[in-house]
């Protein structure tokens, strides 16, 4: 099986190299046959990459512990689905999987956009990028290496009786889907990147490359965002520290390209409509892709310590060389094309949709920069001062909370500003009701005793944004009915179907508002730690937790000890919960299994941290308000994104070559 794996990996290397050479030669000789063969080589490479993944999967499922990678991350007693997910539990396998996903995107693009005039250069770019990863897979972190025992007579093959097992923290359904989703997001940006490079290369610099990759970009952005949120969800339900986001380098690594990707999704609308910001957009998509690669480098290199990083320096420098090389090439390409990237229009007024987008971009980039700065601060401070200094959560919150609130505000303000310039009249007409609603919400909260300034701001702005979104829908429906009649409902459906991008965008914005409401709940988190004997209880607000029993048991995979507690609110019993401590048999690692009582008002989050020497159970109770709104917001964002991906029912006039006439409305 490993022979098949290694052979496939080699085939991927050869085919990618061929794709680069043949597409470039094909362009040079104007041979569509050569170009087509390059395209097909890329598709074939995807097939071989799938084979290599399948080969490793087969080794995992067969418990073939001769192989170092399998022995390191699996064990015979694991259920089959965790043997599958163990494939991406370590560095080598996850990089193999990463290459495979990138090739899936590349092949899908090579098939669906085969007639695109940028295709030869897109294939060359994709081939070049993937060649690097394929090289890493085969030579540097090959997952098909076998264990050997070093003896006096030289190394002899060695097969352990059982594997090391999968880290029990990773034995969770979310962890089985989170990495593939996150990776899909990371690698998906390779498509807009390749189109951007191809457009720069060939100097076809109108908005066509942007329009043709819009859906790819959205899909990548959507997967990256979902991956980040799923990671948060996993941390919340599995890590047992009561939160879902810790500004860990690995989390930050994924957040950075998401921020620049979000900026890109917004700023392209100015280019499509007004032919402005061409350099900016090309730069953004290049930066986004490089941040994606940098993110996986950060996760794998161990240059900044992180809880869930795979530490390995073996290949760190190669990754760094690749990133720097790609950055220099892209920058050179951009600089030599500056003349062709001249703007077709100038900003006309300070208060306009254009400057709204610009400000939104500035905020997103500032947030990205702050995250990068904080993440790399240990490295930077060591280089400058010779002392490693890290900045923790206080830094990230201090900088990003105000930036986030400003972004939330822009979510409401932006769509209400007119293109070119907003007159004072239109400002009054559009903003009076939303502003009053926001103010009213703020005043009410203060009157009810809320004192946390950021939380009040956040809730007030949320009210403002929700009202602006509602009024946008209402205005659209009214205009539609005036024009065509019909009921409110049919007019609404009709309106949305005719401009999925715009109204889907509004729904994504609504999801963002819900997300921020959930974030603001953090300001009111409370917790209590108590050592309890049977029958004793601890209280937090109206909630009371009473220890009933300390049951224990065992499964083939782990031993467990539980703290059975009765949760009651205002002395009314709510339910019996059993947070546990589990001891994984294969790895010997203990984990906490938290239990939650979740409502839209708040989560009661129960952790059993262990037993004291005198036999009392240490129970940690968190009262986390509004956490559910985060997951709800994520779901609404999901719906909105799906809507923006749908085609318009009767397409509005589309102009692929003349962005001036493109009637694609703003999100």
């Amino acid at each position: 099986m490993h022979h098949l794996g290694n052979f496939s990996l080699m085939a991927v290397v050869v085919l990618c190299a061929y794709a680069v050479a043949a597409s470039l030669l094909g362009v040079n000789k104007q041979s569509s046959q050569l170009v087509n063969s390059a395209r097909r080589a890329l598709i074939a490479a995807a097939g071989f990459s799938a084979l290599s993944v399948a080969a490793l999967l087969a080794l995992f499922l067969a418990d073939d512990f001769r192989f170092e990678y399998v022995a390191s991350y699996s064990a015979a007693a694991l259920p089959w689905y965790y043997k599958v997910s163990a494939l991406w539990a370590g560095n080598d396998g996850s990089l193999l999987f990463w290459t495979f996903l990138m090739l899936v995107f590349a092949a899908a693009c090579a098939i669906s956009r085969r007639r695109d005039e940028l295709m030869p250069h897109v294939v060359a770019t994709l081939g070049g990028v993937i060649l690097f990863f394929a090289y890493m897979n085969y030579w540097v972190c090959n997952p098909f290496g076998q264990l050997a025992e070093i003896t006096a007579a030289g190394p002899i093959p060695f097969t352990p009786r059982d594997g090391n097992g999968l880290n029990p923290l990773l034995q969770h359904p979310i962890m089985a889907i989170h990495p593939p989703i996150l990776y899909t997001g990371y690698v998906g940006f390779v498509i807009p990147f390749a189109f951007c490079v191809a457009a720069l290369w060939t100097r076809r610099l109108d908005a066509a490359w942007i329009q043709n990759t819009r859906r790819w970009t959205l899909i990548a952005w959507f997967f990256l965002g979902s991956g980040i949120l799923l990671g948060g969800r996993w941390a919340y339900v599995e890590l047992g520290w009561g939160g879902y986001w810790g500004w860990d380098p690995v989390e930050n690594a994924a957040l950075m390209p998401w921020l620049t990707g979000t900026a890109f999704l917004h700023s392209v609308m100015i280019q499509e409509r007004k032919g402005m910001l061409k350099i900016w957009n090309a730069g953004l998509v290049i930066v986004t892709y490089l941040l994606c690669v940098f993110g996986t480098f950060l996760t794998r290199s161990g240059i900044v310590s992180s809880v869930h990083a795979f530490a390995s320096s073996e290949f760190a420098w190669r990754f760094l060389v690749f990133i720097i090389f790609a950055a220099i090439l892209s920058a050179a390409l951009l600089i030599t094309r500056i003349k062709d990237l001249r703007t077709e229009n100038e900003l006309e007024a300070v208060v306009s949709r254009e400057s709204g987008f610009l400000f939104n971009n500035l905020l997103l980039l500032a947030a990205c920069f702050a995250v990068l700065w904080g993440t790399l601060f240990p490295v930077l401070s060591e280089a400058v001062q010779g002392e490693q200094i890290s900045v923790g959560a206080p830094f990230f919150n201090r900088v990003n909370v105000p930036l986030g609130l400003a972004l939330l505000l822009m979510t409401g303000v932006g769509p209400l500003l007119a293109w070119r310039r907003s007159s004072v009249d239109s400002l009054k007409r559009n903003f009076t009701v939303p502003l009053l609603s926001g103010l009213a919400a703020g005043v009410l909260l203060v009157a009810f005793g809320m004192r946390h300034p950021y939380a009040i701001l956040c809730f007030a702005m949320s009210a403002f944004v929700v009202v602006t979104i509602g009024s946008e829908f209402h205005r659209g429906v009214r205009a539609r009915r005036a024009h065509r009649g019909g009921s409110y409902g049919t007019a609404l459906v009709d309106l949305v179907q005719r401009n999925t991008r715009r109204y889907g965008g509004y729904i994504v914005h609504f999801g963002i508002v819900l997300l921020f409401i959930g974030f603001a709940g953090n300001a009111f988190n409370k917790d209590v730690i108590a050592d309890l004997n049977r029958g004793e209880s601890t209280a937090i607000g109206p909630w009371k937790v009473t220890l009933q029993d300390l049951p224990s048991g065992e499964t083939p995979v782990y031993d467990w000890l539980g703290a059975q507690v009765l949760l009651s609110k205002n002395d009314e019993p709510v339910g019996i919960f059993q947070p546990r401590r589990q001891l994984d048999k294969a790895t010997g690692q203990a984990t906490s299994e938290v239990r939650r009582h979740a409502t839209f008002q708040e989560d009661i989050y129960l952790v059993f941290s262990g037993v004291t020497e005198d036999g009392r159970a240490t129970v940690h109770v968190y009262r986390n308000p509004l956490v559910r709104w985060v997951w709800l917001g994520a779901f609404v964002m999901f719906l909105g994104t799906v809507l923006t991906l749908l085609p318009n029912r009767s397409p509005v006039r589309r102009a692929e070559t003349a962005p001036r006439g493109a009637a694609l409305e703003a999100v």
Binding site: L347, E348, S355, V391, G392, T587, Q589, H620
Partner: protein, 151 residues
């Protein structure tokens, strides 16, 4: 035209100034110095009050619960030992077991012990540091700290 450009520049300048201020105050608020146990010892009283991240291996048998989530343990790095009292609000990571690589964040007390309110830990058996061992001496595959359980 010129007025409009000026407006954009002033706006951009204000934005950059605000961002810089946020970054600087944020760093002041959140910074912690990475130091080894030895360096921390060498600093003596000068280290008091400084927020520090200090790394070392958990000395087997030293993890002891003080109740209500407070935990004492000792870490060792290149022959220097440091007694740590964990008083943070988060439960200690499950990976904090005997011989685990731990990073404690907090400050040095006058009596030379260390009060930590944040601890990260990696199981020595799981990550690539020990992975090298597996490569050359497969006998070392039994994970360290198997006996360390709850407490």
């Amino acid at each position: 035209m010129a007025v409009r450009k000026a407006k954009f520049f002033v706006g951009g300048g204000l934005f950059l100034a605000a961002l810089t201020a946020l970054l600087i105050t944020g760093v002041e608020e959140g910074k912690a110095y990475y130091q080894t146990v030895g360096e921390l010892r060498a600093m003596g009283p000068r280290a008091e009050g400084r927020r520090v991240r200090v790394a070392g291996d958990v000395v087997p048998g030293t993890i002891a619960s003080e109740g209500e989530g407070k935990v004492r343990f000792e870490i060792e790095h290149e022959g220097s030992r440091l007694a740590v009292l964990y008083t943070g609000r988060e439960p200690l990571p499950d990976t904090l077991v005997d011989r685990a690589q731990a990073v404690a964040e907090g400050h040095l007390l006058q009596d030379g012990s260390f009060e930590a309110n944040h601890v990260q830990a990696k199981c020595a058996s799981k990550y690539d540091a020990a992975y090298e061992e597996t490569k050359t001496a497969p006998a070392a595959q039994t994970p360290a700290g198997r006996q360390a359980t709850d407490d």
